[in-house]
Symmetry: C2
Subunit: 211 residues, 2 copies
DNA sequence: GTCTATAGTAGGATAGAC
DNA sequence: GTCTATCCTACTATAGAC
């Protein structure tokens, strides 16, 4: 037998690993990869550094695991769901709202990505090229089709995406600054709703897209 | 005499300090405070670690110096220049263009701030409260006045600022991602011009502000 | 002002008892 | 699976020669 009591063991392992990944996400979110220590992750997860290393043999492996854990859902929310029955306004509004929800639900994941990108995307570069870029180019084409059809104003589609990404992710990455200026200890559901409503109106007005 | 050859000495010191600050800005931009080492800064500046410590006795002091060096120009560009003769459209267009210029001219400074804010602004918090917040609130009032006067559409002024900040700073902080998706090794002047033009049109259309 | 040497500590990782 | 002990490297910082 390779393992003692494999069933119980692996169930427990999954639970501990999940706890560690949540802790690591939080620590990496604050300081990025090189700024974070295994000690800090262990503390956050409530176990010893040695035990942490038992589950995740190296810091690099832990970091990769955190990224892997988030990357697919992340890229999925960065690309359109092309519903042929929906109007441009409907597609864009749904897109903005789901991006804000992502910032609300995964603020730490967002910050980990922010660190990774600011750092030059040393780990994610290839993955972004292989998975995000093709989708991005498809979405650009869809927007260009809308422009040709006169459904929205002629604008630079690439920069439209950069603006939507930046202004939705800022509610996760720069929440400290936003809290400070709004005089709130924490952003609540109402703040995210206001952000969504503002951005949807703002972008649809800018595009001249009618619902 | 306190110093030997004070004139030459202090002139040289200023030059070396400037070189170190540029190097430190670059290193801190990539990894943030805790992720950066004095060794890396020394390497980047082209001098020994010991000599670096002679000029900047501690890493904290160096980091504070880098921030102090940028913070005033930074906050200045985050607030309106209230020209009573200018129209809302003119004020906002000038504002967006100068924010994009800031991202172009000080990408490392922008990234250092990004790290600091993502981290919870441990160093800058008080400064932002004392210096940015009052200006922010004044600018909000001005926008509300424009809305009352029917010069722009009624929108959430706070979130307008968050959107403009995010979508201008993204060209510094997330330049890696933008380069990747545009298929460019580096953003050039044309890219920044396109970004400015896009954002000005976009925001003015969204606000319904006529030039 | 610049160098060598080194102290002191924190961090990543391993070995081995239980 | 969990713990103690420990190795080794990298890091911040100091002391002191020149």
């Amino acid at each position: 037998m390779n393992q003692v009591a494999p069933r119980k063991t692996s169930a427990n392992r999954a639970k501990v690993e999940a706890k560690i990944l949540r802790a690591a996400e939080k620590v990496f979110a604050q300081k990025g990869f090189s700024g974070s220590s295994m000690d800090a992750v262990a503390d956050q997860a409530g176990l010893s550094k040695q035990l942490l290393i038992y589950y995740f043999p190296s810091k690099e492996f832990l970091y990769h695991s955190v990224l892997r854990n988030m990357i697919d859902i992340w890229i999925e929310k960065m690309t359109f769901v092309d519903d042929p029955n929906a109007s441009p306004a409907e597609i864009i509004e749904a897109y903005i709202r789901q991006k804000i929800e992502l910032s609300r639900d995964y603020p730490n994941g967002s910050k980990v990505f922010a660190h990774e990108i600011i750092n030059g995307a040393p780990v994610l570069k290839d993955y972004l090229l292989d998975h995000l870029k093709p989708q991005f180019e498809k979405d650009i084409q869809l927007i260009n089709k809308w422009i040709e059809n006169g459904q929205i104003r002629p604008i630079d589609p690439e920069h439209l995406f950069f603006t939507i990404w930046a202004s939705t992710q800022t509610y996760a990455d720069f929440s400290t600054q936003i809290q400070l200026l709004l005089g709130k200890p924490k952003l609540d559901q109402k703040d995210f709703d206001r952000a969504s409503d503002f951005l949807c109106h703002f972008v649809l007005n800018a595009l001249g897209a009618q619902k």
